[in-house]
């Protein structure tokens, strides 16, 4: 049962689906034509990486229903693991090092996910917060992780794939886009698979899921592993293609909250929501600072702007939770024509 019959509309639907993919491709490629270095390195690259981080958290929280406040810790693990694998295994290609970094993050995700076998809801926050505080401490305490670098700040190695350099701003964007696209497609397939449906069953009612023969413990742990893997890859990208340095400082509790806000504003349990939410969260501070400069005729000062941002984000979170719990993804979805047949995943 692939499609619920819906006369006359399926042709246009397929057409609009194709045109949707073409439009998406066009949007992804457009920056190469019109892009400036600022657009690439200050907006597009962080938006893509934060989208990927949002996807990681969304799998755990949006799809499997386990709240986490430690996303940035797993990003830090991914970044440092990638760096150390690349450094210590000669000849290891960068992309493999990144996948390895993701795997190391996944192992840590399993460890910090273990309490989910016994506790639920916000008791679980303690476990992810423990990760958030323990991991940066470990990374800055033991110099081995930063290769005995005195300052603890490491310059990321050049971005090379089979000898081709991706070190220009446009190249970094292309590199990030490629990795994000591949991981997103894999995650999409996983969500549509029985594993994905098991996540949602456990999220909606774990006791009922258990009665149906789904093992809640195994399902939750798998969600922790996949989520941490994606966050780890996002962390590696954050260090290698965005910052150009590997350091735990920027991956603190505030970053974890930011990723949480991305999925609340973008949409829990939605793939496109991660991208919408990340774009929103990167662009809003820029818009606020521009608007402030125009309204007051001068610079507001970073202190005032930061606090304005906080109030704005706090209010937006509450507003979205009340008015649109499914986030921007649903808002945008409403704008699209609705003559699409309801598609079900093939068995």
């Amino acid at each position: 049962m692939a499609t619920i019959p819906y006369p006359a509309a399926s042709g246009t639907a397929r057409l609009s689906l194709t045109s949707f993919w073409i439009a998406l491709l066009a949007v992804a490629m457009a920056p190469f034509v019109i892009g400036s270095d600022y657009l690439f390195s200050a907006i597009l690259v962080p938006v893509l990486i934060l989208s990927l981080a949002g996807l990681g958290l969304n799998i755990l929280t949006g799809y499997a229903g386990q709240l986490s406040l430690g996303s940035a810790a797993f990003m830090a693990i991914g970044a440092f693991a990638t760096y150390n694998l690349y450094l210590r295994i000669p000849g290891l290609p960068l992309l493999f090092a990144m996948a390895g970094g993701g795997l190391v993050a996944a192992i840590f995700g399993l460890v910090f996910g273990l309490p989910s076998l016994r506790v639920k809801g916000f008791y679980l926050i303690a476990s992810t917060l423990a990760a958030q505080f323990l991991v940066p401490w470990l990374l800055s305490q033991y110099d081995w992780f930063s290769n005995d670098n005195a300052s603890g700040v490491i310059t990321a190695p050049p971005l090379l794939i089979t000898g081709v350099s991706f070190d220009s701003p446009a190249g970094r964007y292309a590199f990030t886009l490629g990795v994000v696209a591949i991981v997103t497609i894999l995650a999409r397939n996983l969500i549509a698979s029985p594993s994905g449906r098991a996540w949602m069953a456990v999220r909606d009612m774990d006791l009922a899921a258990a009665a149906l023969g789904i093992s809640p413990g195994r399902t939750k742990l798998f969600a922790f592993a996949v989520s941490s893997f994606i966050l780890g890859v996002a962390g590696a990208l954050w260090a290698f293609t965005y910052l150009g340095t590997v350091e735990p400082a920027g991956l603190d509790l505030d970053r974890s909250f930011q990723i949480l806000f991305i999925i609340i504003i973008g949409g829990m349990g939605s793939l496109s929501g991660n991208f919408l939410g990340a774009a929103f969260i990167v662009l809003l501070p820029i818009l606020l600072s521009r608007a402030g400069a125009i309204l007051t005729g001068g610079d507001l000062g970073s202190d005032v702007l930061e606090n304005l941002n906080k109030v704005a984000f706090g209010a937006l979170i509450i507003l979205f939770l009340i008015k649109e719990p499914d986030g921007l993804a649903r808002l945008v979805g409403r704008l699209r024509p609705t003559n699409k047949p309801i598609q079900q995943e093939p068995n």
């Binding site: 401490w137 202190d303 706090g314 979170i317 939770l321 009340i322």
Partner: protein, 293 residues
Amino acid sequence: MQFFLEVLIGGALAGIMYALVAIGFVLIYRASGVFNFAQGSMILFAALTFVNLVERGVPFWIAFAVTLAILVASAFAIERLVLRPLANRSVITLFLATLGLSYMFEGSAQLLWGSQVHALELGISDEPLAIAGLSVSSFDLVATGIAGTLVIILALLTGRTSLGLSLRAVAADPLAALSIGIRLDRVTVIAWSLAGFVALVAGLLWGARSGVQFSLALIVLKALPVLIIGGFTSIEGVIVAGLLVGASEKLAEIYLGAIIGSGIENWFAYVLALLFLMVRPTGLFGQPALARI
């Protein structure tokens, strides 16, 4: 040995302060089942408002009353604008909403009053006292006395009065509470106002101890493990857990820190809370939750 005891006592006294913050959580959690992440920013907001009023020449008790009035007004606003529209939503949604509240409290406190550090003088002297051969800070003792008194009053208020009964009734089953004539909105406002009061007292004590500054908002992160070890519903449990966390993290910092490196204080309480979770998922004194399908 003497040094060990001094560290233990100093830690335990600091732990009472954690407990004071954690009690703000328990009050709201018992009344509305909401895990209020904004408790820390409420402390920052209350302390900043109070200290700025005092610095502008407002007498102590009037500044206290005005700050309390603002907190009660925000309790009304929160009930009306945030909690009521979110009635019957999942606990996680409510938690996320308090995360938004937390950002709003933090941002507006610093927009209104700026973000520089203020000194706060409560007239409590801070000098080392020698008790049974051990050196103990007199400020810590007075602060513990205030916190302890407040804790006992709150425990009696929520445990032994009809108000306390209605608070617990609402938490146990909002619908049943409504049907026997308990005003849900009023109980919620009272709980949030009480939590605001606790935040103000905690803000003053912490502010006098370490200055009124942004780090006050981060106490919430210290109170969380205390809550988990003590159990979300028990004031007694939170006090015991506060003592335990305060004392053990100071001891760990000094004795364990010498072996594996300093800075343990930042995460030790969480690892302790995790160990407790694995053994006793409902905390020391928490009630086990029954799940029904």
